[in-house]
């Protein structure tokens, strides 16, 4: 652990400010709380919001897992994990079940989360209405008045253009029947995992200086039309490595002749399943 920095990089007053914001966010599920976002040693868009929340939440006994697009071994995940190992000296893991705090970009782990786990999302654009209404003062009024008809204009446009709701990530949700929120750019495949989750879910947008929360066991509803209900992605393939037919699959081009491979985007989930398969094979051999 590097002693040149305060524990978990940020000074105590900043962490206190962040925690106050988080308490307010938990008290008003889905409401975007402004906070004084700090300069962090990584560029905007790389998770400055998430990293600040993680810094404010980490304790010496925490076990940290960081994923990027579901993977533990991508640049963003590796660097953020190493950063906190260095400035906070906390234990890190790649196993979802062992982690107490998980910072994520673009995915929710396949392994079901527990009550003693916290998920921190990196959010590029916290305002779901932004593409339709550029004025911040106006979007805040719309939130205050729960005037959300506008969001359906986007879904209407999707159906008119593509015949179905083509929004496949950052799919807008209504939190606790009150606030419209962006679930961050997770695939809509993960939206059902937000609903009634036992784990606390926190969202941080560093550039936009907003944080919000979905407390445990909160009702989270994905918007839809009566005759075009919410649907998640399905694949005709199973994971080429672990054979899972229930996880979110990435399509990987493996050569220059168009050969494609479908693999789990959650690397930990995939590795666990492969280990379990190997173990059960060995057991079967030992028994025979």
């Amino acid at each position: 652990m590097s002693t040149a920095y305060n524990f978990a990089f940020l000074d105590e007053n900043t962490k206190r400010m962040l925690r106050r914001g988080l308490l307010k966010a938990v008290a008003i599920p889905g409401y975007q709380v402004p906070f004084g976002s700090r300069e962090m040693p990584l560029p905007y868009g790389w998770g400055t919001g998430g990293i600040q929340l993680t810094a404010a939440l980490l304790g010496p006994d925490d076990v940290l897992k960081v994923i990027d697009q579901g993977a533990d071994d991508t640049t963003n995940a590796v660097n953020i994990r190493r950063f906190f190992a260095r400035v906070a000296g906390v234990a890190t893991t790649e196993r979802t079940a062992e982690a107490t705090l998980i910072q994520t970009r673009h995915r929710i782990p396949e392994t079901p989360l527990r009550e003693d786990q916290v998920l921190v999302f990196q959010v590029p654009e916290p305002e779901p209405l932004r593409t339709l209404e550029p004025r911040e003062a106006e979007t805040r009024s719309l939130h205050a008045l729960a005037d959300y008809g506008l969001m359906h204009v986007k879904l209407y446009e999707d159906i008119a253009r593509y015949g179905h709701i083509a929004t496949s990530y950052d799919y807008p949700v209504l939190v606790d029947g009150r606030y419209l929120a962006s679930p961050s750019p997770i695939p809509k495949f993960d939206n059902p995992k937000l609903d009634g989750s036992p784990a606390l879910m926190l969202f941080g947008a560093g550039r936009e200086k907003r944080l919000y929360a979905i407390p445990p066991y909160t009702r989270v509803e994905s918007l839809a039309f009566d005759d075009h209900p919410f649907e998640i992605q399905r694949w005709e393939h199973v994971c080429a490595l672990c054979g899972s037919d229930e996880s979110y699959l990435d399509e990987v081009v493996v050569d220059d002749r168009g050969t494609r491979l479908f693999v789990c985007s959650d690397t930990d989930y995939c590795a666990q399943r492969r280990d379990a398969a190997v173990a059960s094979e060995e057991n079967a051999e030992a028994a025979a």
């Binding site: 008809g149 506008l150 359906h152 204009v153 209407y156 446009e157 008119a160 039309f225 005759d227």
Partner: protein, 256 residues
């Protein structure tokens, strides 16, 4: 018959300058009232103050709700003002580009107000949008085109459809035909006259064109320098103007 909108002593100033001053009138259900006057006479200020888009400095504004009770608009909070604007009123702007969403399709433009009221069935929204496009003489086949690809006259008709789709009780119109060529104007006026009768709308329309007033309005207010100088039946005002300013307005209309 009791009024729908009751205006008493309404004033709005811009610093020392007068926007509109001490305007009083009643608007009855199903009535189309025209406000005429030259450029800068305070017509648009008055209209925006009536529609709640501009806070008046003095005067009272009362609106009769469906249940017959009076609503004091000056004391209305933002949430209820928006609800009223969404559910019971409509506003047609002079430039259709201000009133439309140019980056979403014509169908979504028409359906937006319905969705704001909680309509959540796509097929029904689309059927209603299509029916309204037909009603304002736009080919329903263009339902998925962006309004940016429409002509000025079509855009204005689209804005009218978008405003009237929720069947408001009261519509404010700010020179809806200005900036359009004469034949297009005639079509839109014809359309408005038909829709106002069909839907039994009450409307306040601002115009500088006396011909528009004569064609559409039963009653007319004439404004000059922020004040109403003459009011009454449109035909009476245009055929027998009493105020020197109205006489000037009427006599300066080109006749062929």
């Amino acid at each position: 018959m009791s009024a729908l909108l009751q205006v008493r002593g309404l004033s709005r100033r811009y610093g020392a300058r007068i926007g509109c001053a001490e305007v009083s009138f009643d608007l009855h259900p199903g009535e189309l009232l025209c406000i005429v006057g030259e450029s800068g006479s305070g017509k648009s200020t008055l209209l925006n103050a009536l529609a709640g888009r501009l806070a008046p400095d003095a005067g009272s504004l009362r609106y009769r709700q469906r249940d017959g009770s009076w609503l004091e608009l000056g004391a209305l909070d933002e949430a209820n003002r928006r609800r009223l604007a969404r559910e019971e009123w409509g506003f047609v702007t002079q430039n259709p580009r201000d009133g439309l969403r140019l980056d979403v399709s014509a169908g979504a433009n028409v359906a937006e107000r319905l969705m704001a009221l909680g309509e959540r069935n796509y097929a029904e929204l689309r059927a209603t949008a299509s029916a309204w496009l037909e009603r304002v003489e736009i080919d329903p086949a263009r339902i998925d085109d962006a309004p940016g690809a429409f002509s000025g006259g079509m855009q204005q008709r689209l804005q009218i459809a978008r405003t009237l789709v929720t069947r408001p009780r009261l519509v404010f119109m700010d020179e809806p035909t200005a900036g359009l060529d004469v034949s297009v104007q005639a079509r839109i006026l014809d359309l408005l006259r038909r829709l106002v009768t069909e839907l039994d709308l009450a409307a306040v329309m601002v115009t500088h064109d006396l011909a528009v007033a004569r064609l559409l309005a039963a009653r007319t207010l004439v404004m000059q320098r922020g004040r109403v100088v003459e009011s009454g039946l449109t035909d009476q005002i245009l055929d027998d103007p009493q105020h020197p300013y109205t006489q000037l307005l009427v006599s300066s209309v080109l006749t062929t």
